[in-house]
């Protein structure tokens, strides 16, 4: 299945060369979990704090549906 992945802030350095503004699509096996996806993207788990699936924060063990929009953030704050 195909996922639309968006990396933000310090994680953008992990994006593949073809990515634009940290955004890229990735073919992954059906039913992959977020934790597995992080591994496929070579993202160290401890450098990720928020993963959103279609705008909703999801736990690392959650399976992902086809065509999902995945947003991945490092530790951050501000305001």
């Amino acid at each position: 299945m195909k996922l639309n992945i968006n990396l933000f802030a310090t994680l953008r350095k992990f994006a593949p060369p073809a990515a634009r503004n940290g955004e890229f699509t990735l073919e992954v096996p059906k039913g992959v979990t977020i934790r597995e996806l992080l591994r496929l993207c070579h993202l160290p788990e401890q450098s990720v704090t928020v993963v959103m699936v279609n705008g909703m924060v999801a736990p690392l063990g959650a399976p992902i549906e086809d065509e999902a929009q995945i947003s991945i953030f490092p530790p951050l704050a501000g305001g």
Binding site: G22, M52, S71, L76, G79
Partner: protein
């Protein structure tokens, strides 16, 4: 005496005289400094119902007990007054070094009262205070005025000053600090303008006496260690500044746009922290003794300056439908130069757009032109200078002003973070994210992720944060240190600096005491439960799209829970038992409302 200088400088601009007042030890121990001391002073010195822009209003600049020590991010200044925008007690807090410079003149606080017949600026150094004529500076923007005053103060001085917006009594005029930071919110600039005070320059060399220097050094070492180890304070904020939040809130569908008619913005990526870092960014800067360094110095093809910060990018960008980072940056520079709060400027313009007054902010020059009109109260700018609440009321559409108690809301849609809605509604200074910010638990998951769409259980979290913020504002330390540090660090350091025993829990009680005294001030001014509210759009119009689709803020049940938690009655008044426990009985019974 350790930690505190026991003196307050009181300047009466009407008579042009100065006097030193003793700061009693007990008052210092109880209220710490900054916001706590400012609130205490205003509660006891302001008559109920005074005109915020009249000679009777006081403006209190205060440092904190840790200023002048090795404590990280401790050079800041707090300023308190009765706000011309909200009518509430109002403190604003800014980075830079004015707090520590004022303190090094031997004063814990500087109180400005009265009104000068002609423009003046104030020059403070140890043992010497003078009022200098400022006719030549009147009309100058904050950059030019800062340059002049910094020159007059000499090396090692620190400057606060206003621009034309403050002079023209724009109700959301800001005060520039050291040419880079702002006492942004609440119209403190207009209070200075009304008093004929263009600026203050402070320079001194009096050290802060430390009770246990070795112990304080150990705690500072521990604090610096934790700030360095924490990824937020050591990586995210230094690399991307506050604007790192743009994409996060937008992806969550909690980034308001178009005066909160939408809850996300299609142009977010183009105006994000990442985009800023990759385009306009020149270099970072840090405030006095700050190891984080979240400040941005940026440039466009025509101008350069500080920021824009996260809130400004939103207020002048998404909220106005502007997706050009250059336009936003230049609007931000201009607000800073003219001395305008960016959040209230953007909020008021968004309201004007919905009222049908102005709209096409993306067209070149339109936004900059309107900002100038506001600062000089020219044409439509005269109406806009009153802020969104008065503007919308004038046009018979009060519901279109996205404000609480008159203060324009910041860049979080509370329909996507319900606790933030409660924080906005209950904030003693009106709609703001700096009294309690629920971003941590509701989005980031710190210290734990809670369901952002649920309302139950939010009151307790909001209250603890309100107290922590009140303490940091009274210590006058940057809130960003609290992303890594806890009450334990602040209490241990305060104890070693002052020689007075402060447990972490004592700080929470101080925060609660400050919160309740602010509440008593506002009750005395006639504020009531009905003012602890949100614009109807947020409580009755569901989000139309995105992850928050269908959501509203269930404010009433949260507010009930909040009052019970605080031991306030159903009208939002502190109960006598609560006041007694906080040592506020005498104060409270003096107020009309309690």
């Amino acid at each position: 005496m350790y930690g505190w200088h026991r003196k307050i400088l009181v300047v009466d601009l009407t008579s042009g005289t100065f006097q030193e007042e003793a700061l009693p030890g007990e008052v210092a121990h109880t209220w710490l400094g900054g916001r706590g001391l400012g609130t205490y002073w205003l509660y006891h010195h302001l008559e109920q119902g005074i005109d915020p822009l009249g000679a009777d209003n006081h403006l209190v600049f205060a440092a904190g007990p840790l200023a002048g020590t090795r404590a990280p991010a401790s050079g800041r200044v707090s300023a308190s007054t009765k706000s011309p925008l909200t009518g509430t007690v109002f403190d604003s807090n800014a980075g830079g070094a004015f707090g520590v410079r004022l303190k090094s003149c031997g004063y814990e606080a500087l109180v400005v009262t009265g009104r000068s017949a002609s423009p003046v600026y104030l020059k403070v150094s140890p043992g010497t205070v003078s009022l200098e004529p400022a006719e030549a500076l009147w009309g100058q923007d904050t950059r030019a005025a800062h340059r002049h005053l910094a020159g007059a103060g000499g090396p090692g001085s620190s400057v606060v000053c206003i621009g034309p917006a403050g002079e023209n009594l724009v109700r959301f005029a800001s005060v520039a600090v050291d040419g880079r930071r702002s006492l942004g919110r609440g119209g403190l600039g207009a209070v200075m303008g009304a008093k004929g005070l263009k600026g203050i320059v402070a320079r001194g060399n009096m050290p802060t006496a430390i009770a246990d220097p070795e112990g304080a050094g150990f705690v500072c070492y521990e604090m610096e260690k934790v700030l360095k180890a924490n990824p937020v304070t050591s990586q995210a904020l230094p690399e991307f500044g506050t604007a790192v939040l743009v994409n996060l809130l937008n992806q969550a569908g909690a980034w308001p746009a178009g005066n909160f008619r939408q809850s996300s913005f299609s142009g977010a990526e183009a105006i994000s922290g990442e985009a800023l870092a990759g385009s306009l960014m020149e270099k970072r800067f840090a405030c006095y003794r700050c190891p984080i360094g979240c400040g941005r110095l940026t440039r466009t093809s025509r101008d350069r300056g500080e920021g824009p910060e996260y809130e400004s990018i939103w207020a002048l960008g998404a909220n106005l439908g502007v997706e050009d980072l250059q336009v936003i940056a230049e609007a931000n520079y201009l607000c800073n130069r003219l001395g305008l709060d960016t959040i209230s400027t953007g909020g008021t313009l968004a309201c004007a757009a919905e009222l049908g007054l102005e709209a096409d902010f993306g067209r070149p020059g339109v936004l900059l032109d309107l900002i100038e009109k506001i600062a000089f109260r020219r044409g439509v700018g005269d109406e806009l200078a009153e802020g969104s609440r008065r503007l919308a009321e004038k046009y018979g559409r009060p519901e279109l002003a996205m404000q609480v108690k008159g203060l324009e809301l910041p860049a979080y849609d509370p329909r996507g973070l319900k606790g933030q809605g409660l924080a906005y509604a209950t904030s003693n200074r009106g709609g703001c994210h700096l009294r309690a910010n629920m971003l941590g638990p509701e989005i980031l998951g710190t210290p734990k992720r809670v369901n952002r769409f649920a309302w139950a259980g939010k009151a307790g979290l909001v209250i603890v944060m309100q107290h922590t913020s009140a303490v940091l504002d009274s210590l006058v330390m940057c809130k960003f240190t609290s992303f890594a540090l806890g009450d334990e660090h602040y209490a241990r350091l305060l104890t070693r600096v002052t020689g007075e025993e402060y447990r972490p829990q004592d700080l929470q009680v101080i925060g609660e005491r400050v919160w309740n005294l602010e509440r008593l001030f506002n009750l005395r001014e006639g504020f009531a439960r009905a003012d602890d509210t949100l614009p109807p759009r947020l409580t009755s119009t569901p989000v139309s799209d995105g992850p928050g689709r269908g959501q509203i803020v269930e404010l009433e049940p949260m507010l009930g829970e909040y009052y019970r938690f605080r031991e306030w009655d159903e009208h939002g008044r502190p109960t006598p038992a609560k006041l007694a426990r906080l040592g506020l009985t005498e104060v409270g019974s003096g107020g009309d409302a309690v």
